[in-house]
Amino acid sequence: MDLVRIQKQDFDINKEVELVKAASKSIGGVVSFLGAGRDISKGEQITMLDFEHYPGMAEKKLQEIRERALKNFNIIEMGIVHRIGEIDIGENIVLIIAAAQHRNDAFMACEWAIAELKRITPIWKRETTKKGEVWVEEHP
């Protein structure tokens, strides 16, 4: 299984963490960010989410984030999984795992990676509310 993936199906956090931890016995701290589907966005009740991506480019950007994280932070390994397609409220959307000898490096790399993912990865969220379906513009 690849450390960086975009997929329709849900992921198993235990398995993803094991995959990252398998990189080295020197890993002492593993920091994970899990994004989940919230029920409310800007005051609107959300009933369903739908994610679209630019196949090829989105995967490439996630790979690039992993490689830059490994280069710029003192971490041992990083895994990134993002789901696409329909996602219910409460379900998992994205998982970023940063593993390091020491926890501070893992925290910094994980926090950077999710911010960078939102900034450069061509993935779009459509929210379904009572008023209809809206493509979200996080950075208008």
């Binding site: 630019y54 480019m57 994205v94 939102k118 061509p122 779009w124 969220k125 996080e138």
Partner: protein, 82 residues
Amino acid sequence: MIKVRFFAMLKNKTGKEEVNLSVPDNITLEKLKAILKNEFPAIAEFIERKSIMISVNQEFATNTTIIKDGDEVALLPPFSGG
């Protein structure tokens, strides 16, 4: 001939996922944008807005990027992954 791809709200606005377009060879992205605004008036204002990014062959491009025959150009509305 280049391929132009539309994502998310831009796909809705144009009613298209991708279009093959004949454009002069080796033009800049700046010139291509003017062509696209004429070709797809429904999204002209989005192409104008800075929040829309454009990729060429799956890499972010700037106004000076040269567009060659066979290139894949994609119009990318603000990302909302994560």
